[in-house]
């Protein structure tokens, strides 16, 4: 009997009525594979001419996934839709077959309906590739694509079967299918938004729990992740996660089907214990979302009130909706009041956790054992910025990624900084500083590169001293130094010109531009100086800043647009002897001439009060402590609230404020009279 049920004849007999699926999938895969392939390689550019079959497959996998998804849903519905009809259940379940075998019989039948058109169309695709000369690594690429799609199909199929097996009627079936497919991604997005709203250190990236929930908690998103994470370090985790999810879904679907009480057909969910679970799974996140929405749209002066109102409203409304769905009766809207109470408590606790960061989101960092290294975003700590054109492949050709500039270059440039005990200790201290009341300073981006490949990114506020210690630890470790300055070497050949500006020179006109050959010479010398520079020297007071321009480096790659350019800024420190000597030879000095200082007028502003400095000694002292406000690196501590304006030969009439360049006062070199001004001001406050 067993062998007979699984026999080809049995299969043929039971496939009656499913021919339309076969035809539908044949058409679907024909469009997804051979037609899409012909459209792709019909465009005879050089790029496409060089494509291997593996590259073609990378384009075909997406339409293939869409048809696979269609196949999984259609097959699951075709085989298990009967569960919503008592008459059909009586018909099928009275047959002399155990539910267990019925389940696998249906799964195999669905798989056959999927595989037959798939294999036929994939073979045609391979034949076309061979005929057009794109056939290298044919079998490997086709096999890989097949296995990926097969895993996707099984995930989506068993997910759909699980959804149908737990539901008792069509409405609940559709809802549970949406739940199985979309709960993970929706919850992940919600968590991501909540993290952005409630945790200050969040950088707006979907990472950590939000990312994992999004990827691993849904057969759809893990199928998509099989593509998006392809080639990444953590791809194997996605594969393992996909296989584990497949096992979980298959086992759950099997149990839900074989243990399904047939008499519960017509109710919303055939397993009563699922209802409270679903209630908590849906109501808590929904209430938090509604609460946050109300907090955002509510008036600023009573934001907390609106937030609480939204939380309560979200809890009650979603609780009511679900109770109505469960009971299929509007009168049951307020049934199970104990559950409502428990939900209220859970929502309140979750809201409190978000509000107070009870989970330590802002102050916790990944353990060192799990961290491979860190990357730093140093874009905001001074003017050492980097602008590079980013390339993207689109329709088989490279294009300048405009979005890169629009988005601020993927939230700025990240520089690998390695990891050491010292770096980790400083980061721990920085993280614990985040929720302290006195937390203020400069923002830096820190990306913890986890061994798992699922990185964690935070935006920390750091004091100048903490930043200095962090950079020192990173320079000591070495990775940051290598990565930060390697970019100069990258553009050495393509440099167009370099400009150098002094950071303590009082005259803003005083800058130098070096032509290509001098620029290259400067880069050679700079390289030597950087190699010899100690970590302490690299976090010292810079005396100048260079800006490298590598314009039009299109010849590096024929596909790069001609208007592409790169711009790299780097500080020059007083210990860069070779560099400074070279610049001096070019008529450029970083040391201010004392006799010139008297030619300038100085105006100190503190607490909106402006005062002129007239004493020549004070002028000299002050001039030594100045650094241009805008270019001042954040690791240098400056006197907060004190701003100095400097202008050559005051031309303003008495009583008018000085119109000059703005400087900050370095605390390390702060003149006594400035200290007194600040102290007096503080005492008065």
């Amino acid at each position: 009997m067993k062998s007979k049920t699984f026999s080809g004849r049995s299969l043929r007999s039971s496939l009656k009525g499913s021919t339309w699926i076969l035809v539908l999938l044949l058409l679907g895969f024909m469009v997804a594979f051979p037609v899409a392939e012909l459209m792709l390689i019909g465009n005879q550019t050089d790029e496409i001419h060089r494509m291997t079959f593996a590259m073609i497959c990378s384009y075909l996998i997406v339409p293939g996934f869409l048809v696979t998804m269609l196949a999984a849903v259609v097959n699951a519905l075709n085989e298990f839709w009967y569960l919503f009809s008592r008459d059909k259940i009586d018909f099928y379940h009275s047959l002399p077959v155990t539910r267990s075998r019925f389940f696998w019989e249906k799964a195999i039948r669905g798989l056959v309906l999927y595989l037959v058109p798939y294999v036929i169309m994939e073979l045609i695709t391979m034949a076309i590739a061979v005929s057009k000369g794109h056939g290298s690594h044919l079998i490997t690429a086709a096999g890989k694509m097949f296995l990926e799609h097969l895993l996707m199909y099984l995930l989506l199929y068993f997910g759909a079967v699980l959804a149908l097996a737990i539901a008792g009627n069509i409405l609940a079936g559709i809802l549970s299918l949406c739940c199985v497919y979309l709960y993970g991604p929706v919850l992940g997005i919600l968590l991501w938004v909540l993290e952005m709203m409630y945790f200050r250190t969040n950088m707006g990236l979907k990472e950590g729990m939000a990312e994992k929930i999004s990827v691993f908690l849904s057969p759809v998103s893990i199928s998509v992740a099989l593509r998006t994470y392809s080639g990444q370090k953590n791809f194997w985790i996605i594969i393992v996660g996909g296989i584990l999810l497949l096992i979980v879904l298959a086992v759950c679907a099997y149990l839900a089907y074989t243990k399904r009480p047939a008499e519960k057909t017509g109710k919303s969910f055939v397993y009563g214990f699922l209802e409270p679970i679903l209630l908590f799974m849906v109501v808590i996140p929904a209430a938090l979302a509604i609460g946050t929405m109300f907090a955002l749209i509510g008036p600023e002066e009573n934001r907390t009130g609106w937030w609480i109102f939204g939380l309560v409203l979200g809890t009650v409304v979603f609780y009511g909706i679900l109770q109505v769905i469960f009971a299929m009766d509007f009168r049951k809207m307020a049934a199970h009041k104990l559950q409502l109470m428990l939900l209220g408590i859970c929502v309140a606790v979750s809201a409190w956790i978000l509000h107070t960061d009870a989970i330590g989101y802002d102050t916790r960092i990944p353990t060192m054992a799990k961290t491979e290294g860190i990357s730093l975003n140093l874009e905001w700590i001074g003017t050492e910025s980097v602008n590079e054109p980013q390339m993207e492949v689109s329709s088989g050709s490279y294009k300048l990624d405009r979005l890169f500039y629009f988005m601020g270059g993927n939230y700025g440039r990240w520089t690998d900084a390695g990891m050491s005990d010292k770096i980790y200790e400083v980061l721990k201290e920085i993280a614990s500083y985040q929720n302290s009341k006195e937390c203020s300073g400069t923002e830096i981006g820190v990306q913890f590169k986890k061994k798992s490949g699922f990185d964690i990114t935070r935006q920390y506020i750091v004091t100048a001293e903490q930043l200095g210690r962090l950079l020192e630890a990173c320079y000591e470790q070495g990775t940051l130094k290598d990565n930060k300055y390697d970019i100069l070497e990258k553009y050495r050949q393509k440099v167009s010109f370099i400009t150098v500006d002094p950071l303590n020179e009082l005259d803003d006109q005083y800058s130098v531009t070096l032509e290509k050959s001098d620029s290259q010479k400067l880069l050679d010398l700079l390289k030597q100086d950087i190699a010899e520079a100690s970590p302490q020297e690299l976090i010292g007071i810079p005396c100048g800043q260079m800006e490298l321009y590598a314009t039009s480096y299109a010849d590096m790659d024929e596909h790069i647009a001609p208007e592409s350019y790169a711009e790299v800024g780097r500080y020059i420190f007083p210990t860069f002897k070779r560099t400074l000597v070279f610049l001096k030879e070019k008529g450029y000095a970083f040391v201010m001439e004392k006799e010139n200082l008297k030619q300038y007028d100085y105006s100190v502003t503190y607490n909106a009060e402006e005062m002129d400095v007239t004493d020549s000694e004070q002028k000299e002292e002050l001039a030594q402590s100045l650094i241009r406000e805008l270019e001042c690196p954040a690791w240098l501590e400056t006197e907060a609230g004190v701003s100095v304006k400097v202008a050559l030969n005051s031309t303003e009439s008495a009583g008018e404020s000085l119109n000059g360049i703005e400087f900050a006062v370095l605390k390390a070199k702060e003149p006594e009279f400035i200290k007194k001004i600040v102290e007096t001001g503080e005492e008065e406050e």
């Binding site: 009997m1 007979k4 049920t5 004849r9 049995s10 007999s13 039971s14 009656k16 009525g17 009809s85 008592r86 008459d87 059909k88 259940i89 009586d90 018909f91 379940h93 009275s94 047959l95 002399p96 077959v97 155990t98 539910r99 267990s100 075998r101 009480p261 047939a262 008499e263």
Partner: protein, 300 residues
């Protein structure tokens, strides 16, 4: 033999089947009758292995039926709804059942299809309600199973077809090990078909007996007695299920054989006396009235 051992099944707060204890013997036509919602379909669905009892067990030939492939090969269940897969012809359905019932008799199927004038190449969806019922009976008989469970199958069959099906059942019983179980609330349909009848009421079994035996042991008495004391004495003598007066005519429904009842009535010197056998419907009404299921209890 189908043994229903202390079976219970509840749907939420409704006890569809409540500790039913019953046996269905072999090679007889068993009629399962009951009031609306008495649990006939639930009992058959449990016997067919579609649903599982909450309590107790159902044994078919000494083996539990639920999830038992071997035993279910001996049971063919015709449900009340009578579902057919989309687009199937009778021939498709035959092929379908052949895969599941190893003893399926293709020759018998062809012969019966001819006898009932059913076109096996026509889509079942184009059949009339009665034709669909006939087809299901043909499939049930051709499946070669030992037990055929029919839920309201005779509903929709004309008297001629009903008689034809009855003859079919009888001939099957004569020729092989075959036991049809027919659930219905239509007593008239069952009366001329069944050998044995089980009364189901409010989830419990009221009575299960051979139909002839049942009719042998319950009678209607119409008599006129000389005075009230005689009537009271007669009522004490008899196992009365129902009592009614039409002027001086006393109408009683009582348990007992015709002879026993006549003897007891004669002792009261009746002016007029007549003992009439009951129809199945009357027996059912009497028994259910005893169990509190009366028209007056429903409306008043």
């Amino acid at each position: 033999m189908i043994e229903i051992r202390n079976c219970s099944k509840a749907f939420g707060e409704i006890h569809a089947i409540d500790h039913v204890l019953m046996e269905i013997g072999e090679r007889q036509i068993f009629g399962l009758v009951g009031t609306n919602g008495a649990g006939k379909s639930t009992l058959l669905r449990m016997a067919a292995g579609v649903i599982k009892p909450d309590e107790g067990e159902i044994l078919v030939d000494q083996e539990p039926v639920y999830e038992n492939e071997k035993i279910k090969q001996q049971i063919f269940y015709i449900s009340d709804g009578g579902y057919f897969p989309q687009g199937y012809t009778a021939a498709d359905l035959k092929d379908f059942y052949r895969e599941y019932y190893p003893d399926f008799m293709t020759d018998r199927y062809s012969k019966l299809m001819d006898q009932f004038h059913l076109d096996e190449k026509r889509r079942i969806s184009s059949y009339s309600k009665g034709m669909k019922k006939q087809l299901l009976v043909i499939m049930g008989i051709s499946a070669g199973t030992k037990y055929l469970l029919c839920d309201e199958t005779f509903d929709g069959l004309d008297p001629v077809m009903r008689q034809a099906v009855k003859s079919l059942f009888v001939s099957e019983i004569m020729n092989r090990d075959f036991t049809p179980v027919i659930a219905s609330h239509n007593m008239r349909e069952l009366e001329d078909v069944c050998d044995h009848v089980g009364f189901l009421h409010k989830g419990g079994i009221l009575l299960s007996r051979e139909l002839e035996d049942m009719k042998f042991h319950i009678h209607k008495i119409q008599c006129v007695l000389p005075d009230q004391t005689k009537e009271e004495a007669l009522l004490k003598e008899l196992d009365v299920l129902k009592k009614e007066h039409q002027g001086s005519l006393l109408i009683l429904t009582a348990r007992g054989t015709r002879e026993e009842i006549l003897q007891k009535v004669q002792t009261q010197n009746p002016i007029f006396c007549e003992v009439i056998p009951l129809t199945l419907e009357e027996i059912f009404i009497s028994e259910t009235e005893v169990a509190g299921y009366e028209v007056k209890n429903i409306f008043w």
